[in-house]
Symmetry: C2
Subunit: 337 residues, 2 copies
DNA sequence: ATGAAAGCGCTAACAG
DNA sequence: CTGTTAGCGCTTTCAT
């Protein structure tokens, strides 16, 4: 492996000079600059990012800690972060928490161990979050998709309360009053906010929220399936289901199909995120779609900004979701007349 | 940040001793071992992976270079690699080539720069691949999903020729002779092999392969859409389409829908990978599904093995796909009678 | 079984 | 504008 010393010798200059031209921080005479660049080229020199990192106590790596890369919502987000990271000559280390706070903590420690330049994270809970450790070590952090209340952190989320409100309002306007809801834990702010939107929609319509219709668990497909079954097993089952994320929606759909029921004639359904299947299946599913890529991009930009200036003011960005009204909601107003 | 020196001082031993107990390579007296461990615990010491990496000239990081994380096929693969990597205390750096050989080369250089312990890659082409650079530097490499002919490398792929053969044979058995095919470039071995399977199916049935029915381009949805349109525009369009991957299938489906045609009554379709939408849409799509997670897992295991012993024998693993015959193929044999 | 010391490849004062 | 020098935090001989 060829080192900075080799380059220096080859070019007949000192290591510092090589370092200077490569980091283009200080002035170097044009002639020597060219000599060095030629040596670099000739020798095919690639700086050791490890050595550099050790010296400046920070690697050219960003940590990206998400719930699960297999959730297509996060996939887009990851891609966005990667795109801006690579533009800025950062690599990214990707990790999944699987919504497990202990795993999250281990991963944060990994990030510390790797001396990453910054981390983007979807925290598993709003309090007692390991982000504090990052703050202690002055590692730039930005939260994405979810918020955290232990500390002040740059954040990018979508308008959960509002999109959720609109989705449920849409159901209510179509005559639904018994609306089952499937959410992840309320310790995850996105779900707490969606639940809040759900409640607000009821209240604003002068309706009572029935807590037995609100089911919460791990926001995965399997849980969506069993919680939907619990709803369907109720003596007076809901006429519509509001799924708190795309995975739970998938579970709910399978639960509905497995009972031989159909959407929307037997039961209506709304959910989040415009996955391929939501528009390919019959009926097309009504969803609120978050600007996933944009969220990741903004988060990465906020992180780059804070890496440049650790002291800059904290920003909270809320991006708007788009409502896509499709075919999965049946109007049952006539039945009430 | 607390260092190994702090731990040594706290425990009243030397740095070497601390290093020894932490790397558990050499014998240390039980009593001192405990003292050190207690100090580590007390102080909350996290070794700098950067410093360690610099010293041993290799980080505890694996490089994972894929086409595009947004392709669900790769998503599962990535998850598998991550799972075994973390089990072995490695982190992973994730990158997308977008099928661009230049980008691939840059990414390989990044890996070299980061002194990753090994890399798993889906090469963008079979020859002139930057894997050679990795070999030069004796960095362990394993190819996944695709092969490479420039050098001997551990490889994990699926049985592309065979699964492709079966898929096309299935179409032929249902009376289809005009079968359009959508593939990525033949420089990508998986597509070359799938094309080979396609050809073999024709030959084994005593049929002629019509080259104007074989379309190749970037294996993305957009290209799938336009190539499918080219096929549909033919004076004698095919009665079935064989899509070379899930993205191109999606494009083809949209092309078909946009023309007001329907599957399978107007045109049959088969493809790869059991994505959610393939079984949620009507009709359910007949596919060959590759053991994605298993492929990633095997690849990661091969890599761990080669990291342990760089000289071990090269392995080529081919995993079996499963055929899922569903509703997207119409029998047209009767029409021929 | 343990300590002392050197050095991995780089950057950043500090001189000049 | 450029060179000298001193580490960053760790592992690894080499002694003892």
């Amino acid at each position: 492996m060829i080192t900075i010393e080799d380059v220096a010798n080859f070019a007949g200059v000192s290591q510092s000079t090589v370092s200077r031209v490569l980091n283009k921080k200080e002035y170097v005479k044009e002639a020597t600059r060219e000599k060095v660049l030629k040596a670099v080229e000739e020798l095919g020199y690639k700086p050791s990012r490890l050595a550099r990192g050790l010296r400046i106590n920070s690697s050219q790596i960003l940590g990206l800690i998400i719930s699960d890369i297999q959730n297509p919502f996060f996939t887009s987000l990851v891609r966005a972060v990667e795109d801006v990271a690579y533009q800025n000559n950062y690599a990214i280390i990707l990790c999944n928490t699987d919504e497990d706070p202990e795993k999250e903590e281990l991963l944060v420690e990994l990030m510390l161990s790797e001396r990453v330049a910054g981390v983007i994270i979807t925290p598993t809970r709003e309090y007692e979050c390991p982000i504090l450790k990052l703050h202690e070590m002055k590692v730039p952090v930005v939260c994405v998709d979810r918020r955290v209340f232990d500390c002040e952190t740059d954040t990018v989320i979508s308008d959960n309360v509002e999109s959720s409100f609109k989705l449920v309002k849409h159901l209510i306007e179509h005559g639904h009053e018994k609306i089952g809801a499937l959410f992840g834990s309320s310790k995850i702010t996105s779900f707490r906010e969606r639940l809040e939107g759900y409640r607000k929609a009821f209240i604003s319509s002068g309706l009572q929220v029935r807590n037995d219709f609100v089911k919460q668990s791990t926001p995965k497909e399997g849980e969506g399936y069993s919680l939907a079954n619990e709803l369907l097993d109720l003596p007076q089952p809901p006429t519509a289901i509001f799924a708190g994320n795309n995975l739970m929606a998938l579970g709910a759909i399978h639960a509905i199909k497995d009972r031989g029921l159909s959407i929307p004639s037997d039961i209506s359904l709304v959910s989040f995120d415009d996955q391929e299947w939501t528009q390919l299946m019959t009926p097309k599913i009504t969803v609120a779609t978050q600007p996933k890529y944009e969220m990741g991009k903004k988060a990465a930009e906020l992180l780059m900004r804070r890496i440049e200036d650790y002291q800059c003011s904290v920003k909270h960005i809320t991006l708007k979701s788009k409502l896509l009204f499709r075919e999965s909601v049946k109007s049952i107003v006539s039945e009430n007349l």
